[in-house]
Each structure stands twice: as C-alpha cells, then as structure tokens.
Assembly symmetry: C2
Homo-oligomer: 419 residues x 2
C-alpha cells in the first residue's frame, strides 16, 4: 500500500530534505509546557522515547516521573504518585507527540518552562525544557531530591520569566547563524555547546538587562547563562525538533524525522510512516566516564538529544568538535571517519552548517533510512551517560542498531522501478 | 666572546624556556601609556618594528605617527608635526623598548590606554593598546581622519576607564586559562580571537556592570567588547610580550624573544643578545584579501602581533584554527603541516596550551634561532594585510626570512663542543 516507485521515493526525499533546509528556526518565547504544547494537560507528564506502559519504567525515568508528579503538586508522596500513575489519573506520554524533545529522562511537566523555537517559513514549532544546570544531580539525569526541587523552582520562577522577557524583546533570535558560528568554534551542538552558549550569551545579555534591569536576580541569571557550557543544548534540541517536524508526514519519504531512547529501546520515525515508531533494544554505549565511575555504574534512562543528529549535528558533525576528546573520548581521526561515514547515509550536505577541518564541507544532512538499510551503516550518535542511581556520569558514542531502519523500509515498501 | 659550549647553550635555552613556561600572566590594569610604560614621555610616539630614523617612515607608519602627534596636541597640523619630528622635539621610538607591542603601525602615544599584563611569578609586564575596533579605517592600519580621531577619544574617555575599573575590581584576570580554552575553540590567538573574545566577555561583563552600573555608556562598552571578534588580540599580544621578556637577556640563549616588522624590515631579538635587532627585508605576504582588493593595493606598515608566534600561538598554532580558511586562506592540511614544521624549530611543547586536532599535543613553544639556522625552516606567521593608502585589507601567512636567525647565531657564536 505504501509501496513507492524509486522515482516517487526520490522525489519525496528531495521534498522532505528541501523543506528541512528551508526552515528558518527562531527562538520566539519561553513558556510553560502547559501554555506551549498542544494537547498538554496539568496531569500529563512527558518523557523521552517511544512510549511504554507505566509499569515498564523501572529506573531513572521512573524516578524522574514520580518526582515531577510531586513537583506539580499532583501527589504528596512517591507512593501516592505511583498509585495515581497506575490508575491513569496521572498520564505518561511521549515528548515527541507533543512537539517536544527531552534530554536524557526528558521529563517535562505542565509548569516547567520550555524553549519555543518556530520555523518562520512553515510555522512548525519545536520545544525543549530550559537547561537544568551543570550539577551532576538533576531530574534530567534521574535524580529527585530537595536540591533538584529547589533548582526547578528557581528555573520556573526566576530564570524562565527573565529569559522570556528578553527573547520577546528581541523579536526572536535566529538559531541557524548561531549554529553556523559554533560549528566553526569546535561545537557539535550535542555533546559540546561551549561556543554556542557563549555566542547566545553575547546576544542575550543585553535584552536580559534591558527587560529586567541590573539587580541581584539578573546577576544570578547572567551567571547561570554564562557558566553552564551546555546551556545551549536545549535550544539546539528544540531547533532540531522544529526542523525535523517540517518533513514529518511526507508520503513515501524514507528520511528519518526522529531518533529517541527510552530506558529500554532505541526508536526512530521516518517521514513517510507518520507517527509509527520502529524500535530495537539499545546497543552498548562506548563512553568516557568521570573519574571513579565504571561501566557497571551506568544505565540508560532515555534521551532525545539525538534529534540533533537527525538534523546533521552531534555525531554527524563529529569532525567539527575535536575538543570532545576531553569529554567523551575518541580520537581526531575517529571523529573524521565518523563524519565521513555519515555522508554515505544522508541525502545531502547542509549549505550553511559547515565543518572547518573538511574544508568547510557542509554537515551530512537528512538521514535516509533506505541508505542505512542498504549499506548497514547506522547513525553515529554523541551521548551523555547516566549513573544507574541517577546523575551525570560522562559521555560517549552510540552506534544505532540497524533493525529499526530495516523495519521502516519494510513498512514503507522497497522501491520498485517505475519502468 | 659570546661563544658558548653546546652544553652552555642547552642549559641557557632550557632556563629561558622554563622561565617563560612558568610565567603566570594576569591582566592587572588598563592605564595610559604615559602611566604604564617605564621611560615614556608626553612627546614620545612609539611604533612597530626595529627603530628607523624619522625620514625613513614613508607609508602607513608615517601617517599614523603624524596623526598621533595631532591627537596628543603636540602639533596642530600634519606639517607642524613633521617639522617637530625632524627637529627631534617629538621623538619616535620602538614599542619593544618600552615593554610594549603594537598591532600593524603599532602607534602608541602618551595618553592612549594600554592593557597591563603582569607575570605574577617574575613581575615582568607586557603592554599593548586597547583594540581600536573592527572598522577598516583605523590608526592601527595607517589611517588618520576625524572618524579615527573621535573613536580614539571614545576609547580613551569611555572604554578604557570602564575596563580599568572592571579589571581592578576582579583583582586580576589570569590569561593562560583563557588562551587554553580558546585554542580548544578554534582560535590561534593571532588572526583569530573569536572564542577568546567571547570567553573574556563572559568574565568581564559582570565586573563592568558592577563597577560602572548599567547605563547607556556601559551598554556601548559591552557592545564594543562583544561585537569585535579580534578584541582579545591585544590582550594576547600584551601577554606574549610579558612572557617573552621573562627570557630576554638570558646569556648564551638562542631562544627568540621578539619578532617584529616596520614598514621595511623584519627583525628579531634572541635572549642571549640583549636588545640587539637582527634585520632583513620583509618577504612577500601570501594573503587572502577582502573583495575588490588586489596584491598591488597592499603594503607593509609594521606589525608586532608576531609576538604571539614568539610564544607558540598564531602560525605555530595554525592546526588549532581551521576556521581561518575563511579569513586568511590556506587549507586544513596546510595548517597541520605548518604547525608540524614548527615543532622542528622550537624547544618544547606547551604543557597547557593544546591543539585538539593533534590529540591535544601542546603548541610548539620557544623558537630556537639555532634550530632555524640549522634547518633552514623559519617561523610561519599569521598576519593581517594593510592597504597601501591605509585600512585593513585581509590576512595571510608570512614565512620569516632566514637571515636574521643566521646573523643572531653568528653573533651569539656557534656552539663548540665542551669535550
């Protein structure tokens, strides 16, 4: 039924990728998830990955979801929250189905503030929580405690309103030029956002001061923005979702529009198969861990920062970010080989986002599930690593499993010659 | 007389380089040249390069020196200034002899504000004018007109006092960590200072606001600091001078302590030969020029930003700054080869300043004139290009001439075996 001629597939992929490249993502606001996300409700908690039934969440995602229920005042205790989740009085949904993406656990509840990134061309919007800070213990990394709780309140009550006022005053902050500059300054825009954070700061400090004045509170906000090197990651993610969704639903297209993790599964969507997830168990993460942490200490707890790879960044742009050796391991030669391999499974090269070491060749852009299925080469993904008991543990390289891409192509139908 | 055994030379070079590496350069103040530079007088005008007699300055340096005389109120007209310079009532001296370095023309007069960078270990101080801005027309690039004049007044009256207040409030800004970070973000700290400027901004915006409040004037100052990508260059240069001077005067040492240009000559100093300049005509600059500018339009007008190469940055760190292709031309492979070649003429590798693409190998550090003379490989220097009639024209790569290094070794004396 879905079967397409090779010409139809080629035209569909061309259209899907052209639309993504034409997008002009702009930060337009910072709003509560309830106000920003279509369909969001006060008792909905979003989390990373293809959705599972509540009892299947057993690790960091479970802890973070329970924490969010308390944070929202939906339950007084973890036990009560668990009961309400079992009864369906609190519901768990997939971020991706609400125009949102989440980092690691990705837990996003109604009152939490999200970046709103809008494509000025199509109107597509992508969202992602405002970055939670560099502390190893965060809800993002599956930790719920009083310190985490207080920081979330500070983000909601202090940081987000100031950011929102500043962003509105600018009339919108275009993201493509920031990413272009950051790729020229050693960022991959996934595991490394040091330069993008600095460039965003150069653009936002003025509007923040203009909109909020200079006082002890703005001082805290400016310090938070300038001292957290991964602050821009969540803007990068919202931008990726905004761009990828432009292609979603293109009939016959085998272009990947989402890659995501829950605690147990890696999953993808392709443009021509709508909202259907293609899932597989998560492969081993080849990670560089912080001192004192061993492989037995880490566990998956979801993650959707892979949306950056979906739009040509992260692992696909590894050859732009040699400084990542420090954080996530690997070698410069390996990083070049990673990016080179990705040209073999992508539709084109980005005309604006370029890699200095490759003589300013554009990043590989538009992962084509058909090329993945044909070559057996799968996306290389830069990823943070989480402690089993919660907390940030390091970072590394994840090589996507082949199965979901093959399954997607099976569902889309192999292309048949038109002649 | 100066002749040394090979063992003496080796010990001397080891000591010279160890002292440079031990330096802890810190931005401690912004002062007028008169207040900062030992021996400076109100009617002294400093300029780049080994000194020449006044009539020998014929191009951009001449125009800038005449402009500075008017700026200082030493003369009302260019003609009067020329007369006073001929009569020796205004004197022209070499920046390097006053603990200072200058960009391109390097013209530095009494009331102009300079960065003060102090080595906390030895007390050595290096100085360099505060960056004049990104406009193509500047005194730095041999232009004197009313717009240039007004900008210099703004720098003196508005920018410098705010910077000084901020720097003093911090108790000193250590420079080595900023350079370390910037090398990991694509800067060479000579032709590219984009990252270092952003990092410095993240450190100084707070003290600037604390010391000066938030008002239309601080707004201008913060905009100037965040929008001029080369703003940090003059800090990098003052730092280079501060570090190189720690080694100056080490008996028997063949380590290079200065490389500089006037309009006509390339010149160096080596640690064991004190203040003596070794000179040669300037070779051809292989430059990438801004659109509409041809090789016939450019001319040398001095330059001492080569002090960055003297301490392992600029061309020596080319493999850290692949984004320079855009600005100064070249290829990534050529940049890697440039840095690789420099390991052959330097004493060691910097333990803190590292190049991501070379698996975090330290930058080549401590140019040894003896190795240059032996191998015929000369320093590769990143440089700005100037319009003959004044103005910024582009940037490129200068390959130093061999003569001065050979002459320095002849004067130091070839090493003779101690056995």
């Amino acid at each position: 039924m879905l079967e397409a001629t090779s010409e139809q597939r080629a035209r569909a992929n061309q259209a899907a990728v052209a639309a993504m490249l034409a997008a002009e993502p702009v930060i337009v606001d910072v709003l509560s998830a309830l106000d920003a996300l279509p369909g969001m409700t006060p008792n909905t908690i979003l989390t990373s990955g293809a959705p599972m039934a509540w009892p299947e969440y057993e690790g960091g995602q479970r802890r973070a979801i329970l924490g969010a229920a308390i944070y929202e005042g939906l339950a007084a205790t973890v036990e009560e929250a668990d009961k309400l989740l079992h009864e369906g009085k609190i519901v768990v949904r997939a971020c991706h189905d609400y125009g949102c993406v989440g980092s690691v656990t990705g837990v996003t509840s109604a009152s939490m503030p999200v970046w709103v990134v809008e494509d000025r061309v199509s109107g597509s919007r992508g969202h992602c929580l405002v970055y939670e800070g560099g502390d190893r213990e965060r809800l993002t990394y599956g930790v719920w405690n009083e310190k985490v709780h207080q920081r979330l309140i500070w983000i909601r009550e202090v940081l987000a309103p100031q950011l929102a006022a500043a962003v509105r005053a600018t009339g919108g902050v275009p993201v493509k030029p920031i990413i272009r500059r950051a790729l020229g300054m050693g960022d991959d825009l996934h595991s490394r956002n040091t330069a993008a954070t600095a460039v965003l700061f150069q653009q936002l400090y003025g509007p923040i001061l203009d909109a909020n004045g200079f006082n002890p509170t703005t001082r805290e906000v400016l310090a938070f923005l300038s001292q957290n090197e991964l602050f821009f990651l969540h803007v990068s993610m919202a931008t990726g979702k905004c761009i990828a969704d432009v292609a979603a639903g293109t009939p016959h297209s085998s272009i990947v529009t989402a890659m995501t993790l829950n605690e147990k599964q890696f999953a993808i969507r392709v443009a021509g198969a709508g909202d259907r997830w293609f899932r597989a168990p998560i492969p081993v993460l080849n990670a560089k861990l912080f001192d004192g942490i061993g492989p037995e200490d880490i566990a998956f707890m979801g993650g959707e920062s892979l949306i950056t790879e979906t739009v040509g960044l992260g692992g696909l742009a590894a050859a732009a970010a040699f400084s990542l050796q420090d954080y996530s391991g690997g070698t410069p030669q390996g990083m070049v080989e990673t990016t080179e391999a990705m040209y073999g499974i992508t539709h084109t090269e980005h005309p604006l986002w370029k890699i200095p070491f490759l003589s300013f060749r554009g990043v590989p852009f538009g992962i084509d599930a058909e090329l993945v299925a044909k070559t057996g080469v799968t996306p290389r993904i830069h990823m943070g690593a989480a402690l089993r008991e919660g907390g940030h543990a390091g970072a590394g390289l994840l090589i996507a499993p082949e199965g979901p891409f093959q399954e997607a192509i099976a569902v889309l139908g192999s292309t048949v010659s038109a002649h």
